[in-house]
């Protein structure tokens, strides 16, 4: 029996100890009417490990697509081989949340190091141990801000990922917040300070500010942060953590810095994996510490004065505070945060900055060569990080399908989420692309738009 170690003899000895004839008797307290009579019909017969692996291999091979130029919130990066060899060690992989601190120092110290790296990267006072993903972390940050400020209005730029906006919607819906979508400049592709005038004087809990934004464009963070603080609103930064190694850290935005920074940690060592598991991170100024959701690890000492680590500030959490907790989050995405900790340790400040620079460089090169093609137009004027928006002379879906045939995943089709942009395509190039890869894309697109 797969994964059941009992021999018939063991079973009989155990039944005998319990003075019962069969395991059926163990379920005697389940009312007869509720006992499942037949079998689970939808479940197929057991496969052997080899047959299962062969099936899964076929399925995964079936989905093999070309060079990936899609971004839109999930990014292809080089993942050093070290990471998953270590993260996949049983001691990390098969441990539970580190409740028994003395038997969990590995996980606890790792998370403490994670918190330190994230807080240092964001230049904020503290970090929690991880959230589910960037979108849900942002939703929790919005709740946190409205709780802290006791106000219900939150400004949400349309340059924020539509998926993040939908997630905020779902998660904050029960609290009937006033979520105000801030339009962007069709010329620059970002929020312009002037356009915020309209919201001045309102009771704003927070302004959410993505950097880079969903179009890859760099927002005017300093001015917008100062504006938010002038409105007595919190500034919630939603950032790409890899980009943050190169770009201004949220804690240094404007005069006083962002108050909360969240984002998706995927670029730090999580494979694309169809969208998950990734992890959300959340950092903030210490003023908001007691509002922070999720687990936090602290450094302490043992009875002999030796350094050790424990879960701390648990009075915020569901298992202690129940209906008065800061969030219901329990399991988080610890393993992915472990991967990120190793990623940041391996690359270090220089490696991360260099990687971010390579991304930028490749995207710039690709944008230049693609926008030279007839039928292609770069539509936003503001600088970008590693993604950019192109307007095509043909419907995006058709072009993407043709690119796919040429072995290229050309990008994310914006025409659904942003119909006003027309045939708009969001293209991403990271450090994984060689010059040859970039050329392959331009050549293929040229061919398609010519033909």
């Amino acid at each position: 029996m797969p994964y059941i170690p009992h021999t018939e003899q063991d079973k009989q000895a155990m039944l005998a100890a319990l003075k019962i004839q069969s395991t059926d008797a163990l379920f005697s307290e389940i009312p007869e009417t509720l006992r499942l009579k037949g079998e689970l019909k939808e479940i197929p017969e057991a496969l052997s490990e080899a047959a299962m692996l062969r099936l899964m291999e076929e399925r995964s091979e079936q989905d093999k697509a070309g060079l990936c130029f899609i971004g839109a919130g999930a990014y292809e990066h080089n993942i050093p081989s070290v990471i998953w060899d270590i993260v996949g060690r049983g001691e990390y992989l098969t441990a539970y949340t580190p409740y028994q601190a003395e038997a969990s120092q590995g996980t606890l110290q790792t998370i403490y190091e994670y918190q330190s790296m994230m807080a240092n990267l964001m230049r904020l006072d503290l970090s929690n141990a991880s959230m589910y993903d960037g979108a849900s972390a942002l939703a929790e940050a919005v709740l946190m801000a409205t709780r802290s400020k006791q106000k219900k209005t939150v400004l949400i730029p349309q340059t924020l990922s539509p998926f993040y906006r939908q997630t905020i919607q779902t998660i904050t819906h029960p609290y009937s917040l006033n979520l105000v979508e801030v339009p962007f400049s069709m010329q620059t592709g970002r929020i312009e300070l002037a356009d915020l005038k309209a919201y001045e004087g309102q009771e704003i809990a927070a302004l959410v500010l993505p950097q880079p934004n969903f179009f890859g464009v760099l927002e005017n963070i300093d001015a917008l942060t100062d504006w938010a603080h002038e409105q007595k609103a919190l500034l919630i930064a939603a950032v790409n953590p890899l980009a943050t190694a190169l770009l201004k850290a949220p804690g240094t935005w404007g005069k006083d810095g962002a108050d909360i920074a969240v984002g998706d940690g995927q670029p730090l060592g999580s494979p694309l994996s169809s969208g998950g598991p990734y992890f959300g991170f959340m950092c903030c100024k210490k003023d908001y510490m007691r509002q922070l959701p999720g687990r936090i690890v602290g450094r302490t000492v043992d009875t002999e004065g030796k350094t050790g680590f424990v879960l701390t500030l648990q009075a915020r959490e569901q298992h202690i505070r129940r209906a008065k907790a800061t969030s219901n989050i329990c399991s988080n995405q610890a393993l992915m945060a472990t991967a990120a900790t190793i990623y940041m340790s391996l690359l270090g400040p220089e490696g991360m900055q260099r990687t971010a620079s390579l991304c930028h460089d490749n995207a710039k090169k690709l944008c230049e060569s693609l926008s030279k093609i007839k039928g292609v137009e770069k539509i936003f004027s503001a600088p970008f990080f590693h993604e950019f928006v192109l307007k095509l002379s043909q419907p995006v879906a058709i072009v993407l399908a043709k690119l796919a045939e040429a072995g290229i995943q050309g990008g994310y089709d914006l025409s659904g989420a942003y119909p006003t942009l027309g045939n708009a395509l969001l293209v991403c190039a990271t450090e994984t692309k060689t010059d040859n890869d970039l050329n392959r894309y331009s050549e293929a697109l040229q061919q398609i738009l010519r033909g």
């Binding site: 994964y3 939808e42 697509a65 230049r123 400040p349």
Partner: protein, 484 residues
């Protein structure tokens, strides 16, 4: 041996150049946006990284190294085969926005998984997107809210939760802006029906139940409870964290539940990762069908498609940016394929057999269980109230002492209503030999508590650190390393 922080190993200027292309880059076009400081991250060699985290990992107990009878957590064996299946390069490298044409393989897995879970739970439909049990709970309660709202029923502001419930239940109710009304448990471990009857009414949005409950017993009058709640227009939420106990033996759908969440990272053998990632799919009956969170995988003809808000206008919406923790879903899918139709009920049989057997051995040895007349489900509670009174040794002390003997501690102090409790869940993947060995050590510690209580109270003695100071940790908060 304590291990220095990676920051203390750091030496400025150290790096592994092979990890990043060393070509020149030009970021002058975005110079106004650039960071001026060097982020305070470690600067260490690849070998230093490998050594640091390898050694750190060795300081963990884990299923792969130790018996880990943590109640309510189902720390069963995490198959390496399902880990390998989910780690196939084709799966790892797939972008969530790959075109449908290049997504039929993965969608086939997810679609079938939805169907399996519906069949296992006896519900109508499943959404896999919640990222953990708690997010599944939120999704479930949000659907309950959406349902009442869709009927214009705005009075319902309360969710009923038994006092034995897991903390996420009331917290999820709170996240959905419901007031929580707690009801007590009877001396036999079942819900107090009279209290329930008194609690329900027009304000009742729903009740959240775990069955078998976190007390390690099956709620025998579940059908009656369902009737009581449904009669007042409320719905029934099932916390599926304990599904391991009844897999293929009984189904929440048949008990009258309207919505349930599952913990794939418990029942379906996916690893816990030191705290996550998990996956908490929700399954619903007919009532809540329109409200399921998106995305959902559907099959149109012989093609799989992903349903969005356009296809499901009444959906509560999306809970994360993409599809949820797909890697965990793939593991659960592979797990179900490995166990198959016959294997799933066997899980419940042996999980329950192990729990009842261990309980019997411990009771025979003099341990106190709060529900001695009841069958254990896949887990059971031992109360050490007597031992605390007589020897001064608490549940915490017992737990710590177990570590010295190479066993992870059971869950301690949960559920809160049983004093000095250990919640013990052996799971089906542990052998009789292992369980006998655990029982033997429990009995030994009981003897120690009497003969040498201090040994127990100051445990652990053989871990990398002695007992840690929680109070200092909270008072003199040190949660981020700072450069001296």
């Amino acid at each position: 041996m304590t291990i220095p922080l990676i920051f203390d190993v750091s030496h400025s200027g150290c790096k592994t150049t092979s990890l990043v292309e060393q070509t020149k880059t030009d970021v002058s076009d975005i110079k106004d946006f650039l960071r001026q400081d060097k982020p305070l991250l470690p600067e260490v060699s690849e070998l230093e990284v490998v050594r640091h985290f390898t050694r750190l990992s060795q300081q963990n107990f884990s299923v792969d190294t130790h018996f880990y009878p943590l109640g309510s957590c189902t720390m069963k064996y995490n198959s390496r085969a399902i880990h390998k299946a989910a780690s196939l390069p084709g799966f790892l490298n797939r972008h969530p926005f790959a075109l449908d044409n290049f997504s039929q393989g993965i969608m086939a897995c997810l679609y079938e998984l939805q169907n399996y879970l519906a069949n296992i739970t006896g519900m109508q439909a499943v959404s896999l997107t919640p990222m953990a049990g708690a997010q599944g709970e939120f999704a479930g309660v949000a659907m309950i809210r959406a349902y009442h709202e869709s009927r214009g029923d705005k009075e319902r502001s309360e969710i009923i939760v038994p006092d034995a419930a897991h903390g996420t239940n009331p917290a999820s109710a709170m996240m959905a802006n419901y007031a929580v009304r707690e009801i007590p448990t009877l001396a036999d471990g079942d819900v107090d029906l009279e209290a329930l009857k008194a609690a329900v009414g027009p304000k009742t949005a729903a009740i959240m139940l775990t069955n078998p409950s976190t007390l390690g017993v099956f709620e025998r009058r579940i059908e009656e409870i369902a009737k009581i709640v449904h009669n007042v227009g409320g719905l029934l939420y099932y916390d599926g964290a304990n599904l391991n106990a009844i897999l293929g033996k009984a189904r929440p759908g048949d008990m009258g539940f309207d919505v349930i969440h599952l913990n794939l990272h418990k029942t379906f053998g996916t690893p816990h990762g030191g705290g996550g990632p998990g996956s908490g799919p929700v399954a619903v009956g007919k009532t809540l069908l329109p409200f399921l969170p998106i995305p959902i995988i559907d099959k149109k003809g012989d093609r799989y498609v992903s349903l969005t808000e356009k296809d499901r206008p009444q959906s509560i919406g999306r809970l994360s940016a993409f599809l949820g923790n797909v890697g965990i879903m793939l593991r659960a899918y592979a797990y179900i394929r490995l166990l198959g139709r016959q294997g799933l009920p066997r899980v419940a049989e042996y999980a329950t057999l192990n729990a009842n057997y261990l309980m019997k051995v411990l009771v025979d040895a003099g341990f106190t269980v709060p529900y001695p007349t009841r069958r254990a489900s896949h887990e059971f509670i031992v109360s050490l109230k007597k031992e605390l009174q007589e020897c001064g040794t608490s549940a915490k002390d017992f737990g710590k002492r177990l570590l010295d003997y190479g066993f992870h501690a059971p869950t301690t102090y949960f559920p809160v209503l049983v004093a000095e409790c250990l919640l013990i869940e052996p799971t089906e993947t542990e052998s009789k030999q292992e369980i006998d060995a655990f029982a033997e050590v429990m009995i030994k510690i009981l003897a120690e508590a009497k003969s040498d209580p201090n040994k127990v109270k100051t445990a652990p003695h053989t871990m990398p650190v002695k007992r840690l100071d929680d109070v200092k940790a909270a008072r003199e908060l040190d949660i981020v390393w700072k450069k001296k």
